[in-house]
Symmetry: none
Subunit: 233 residues, 2 copies
DNA sequence: TCGCACCGTTCGGGTTCCGTGAGGACGGGC
DNA sequence: GCCCGTCCTCACGGAACCCGAACGGTGCGA
């Protein structure tokens, strides 16, 4: 996948130099020579990285950052001629990810771009509905339904059963230690009362698993805790 | 939640200054004065941000970065006295996220730390996935999966097996002495019980290695200890 | 060639840990 | 007062796990 970079600088010579160097490295380049253009291009093109000069006409670099941060989390690298610490702080706190002062080494700039693009966060939104086999769990509505022949029936869970299930599902695929569950649900004074969990896990399995004696979704890790596996083992 | 920062610098005065300033800002501080200490502290404390000096004794800053990047994606900010572009490129490409040259403005450093922590909210557990051949090890989820024909199967590890594997993986590429492992897992009274390790290494190899009789990832250094090699020898 | 040190491997007992069922305590609704 | 759902205690059988002991293989020096 090719990385698209927006270069915004009011100095055409600088823009040209950056374009040549960066496109030679395989980046896809979009340019702008003032703040207004930069924001418009951003909306139209959705770049993966921003290379912003401060002190552009029309819209100041800081204002551009604010505008961008309203709707994108793509990395922003600010290039500026000024070296005072106050501006750096201001820019970084406005949402920029890095700040380089002119004159800069092109190799360093490239390395910093690589460092920024390396972190491409593929953050997955918290899924509210999880389906395992015949059973669907809706975390938002606090409801569980089971598909039966010719329809679906609601599964009734007690409040405590819900708490256990919810924690496990929210940590789907992850091991949840017994202590975590106990402290979360019964409080820190019951860290050692593992009997509670055995009970409720048995209940949940009875209600959710196709074959409770051979759990496919609510797995136990001996000596550690429990794990909810959406795919079924 | 409080952000934990590891400060690693061989200059005690610098460490003290940073500790005072950062802890005053509400950060939780862990310190180290050489590379070996830094990696050990990282394993024990799991900091959210790393503040590394280059040119430390025992283990160089670059080596520390390599060791850390084997298992953590937490942001690394490198502080160095040298200004040459080559070193910056080298460090950034090694996996560091930012590079600041001494002398630096404390305000700027703080702003850069804020910029880094803004990106990786630590309520999302940091991903730490290591892949070796057909097997992927997920330290955060405490899970091991093995690619098989037509899918992937979970590999079940016992708690003790996990402890051994975790220490080795977190020290990926580095030699871990037998004593280190024994003290860490079984306590200092079992420093000489090397039999334990032979047992669990055999178990791990059986479960992880393509050919357990010819280990490619879990190597033994005769007379010394063991070494986990991500690339496979 | 022998002996030794070191490492890998197997086996089985002892212990801890886990699932299950029965049943009591508590409290709210009627 | 009675019913009923929920939560918890307890005891038992079985499984998982840890660890001690012994055997085999390999490399090295005497």
């Amino acid at each position: 996948m090719v990385v698209k970079i927006l270069i915004a600088d009011d100095d055409p010579q600088m823009v040209r130099a950056l374009r040549v160097t960066l496109s030679a490295r395989g980046y896809d380049i979009v340019t702008a020579t003032n703040g207004r253009q930069a924001v418009d291009a951003a909306i139209a093109q959705h770049p993966d990285v921003y290379l912003l000069d401060l002190g552009m006409p029309e819209l100041d670099g800081l204002e551009v950052i604010h505008a961008l941060r309203g709707w994108t989390t793509a990395p922003i690298l600010v290039v500026s001629g000024r070296t005072d610490a106050f501006e750096k702080v201001e820019v970084l706190d406005a949402g920029a990810d890095d700040y380089v002062t002119k004159p800069f080494s092109m190799d360093e700039l490239l390395a910093r771009i690589r460092a920024l693009t390396r972190r491409s966060p593929h953050h997955e939104p918290q899924q509210a509905v999880v389906t395992i086999g015949d059973v669907t769990i809706d975390l938002a509505n606090r409801s569980v339904t089971r598909r039966t022949e010719g329809g679906s029936a609601a599964v009734r869970l007690t409040p405590t059963e819900w708490q256990v299930l919810e924690i496990l599902v929210r940590n789907a695929g992850r091991l949840v230690t017994r202590q975590n569950l106990l402290v979360e649900i019964w409080g820190s004074e019951h860290v050692t009362d593992t009997g509670y969990l055995r009970l409720y896990l048995a209940q949940l399995r009875k209600k959710l698993e196709p074959n409770p004696s051979e759990p496919r979704f609510l797995l136990t890790e001996s000596g550690m805790g429990y794990r909810f596996v959406p795919e079924g083992r």
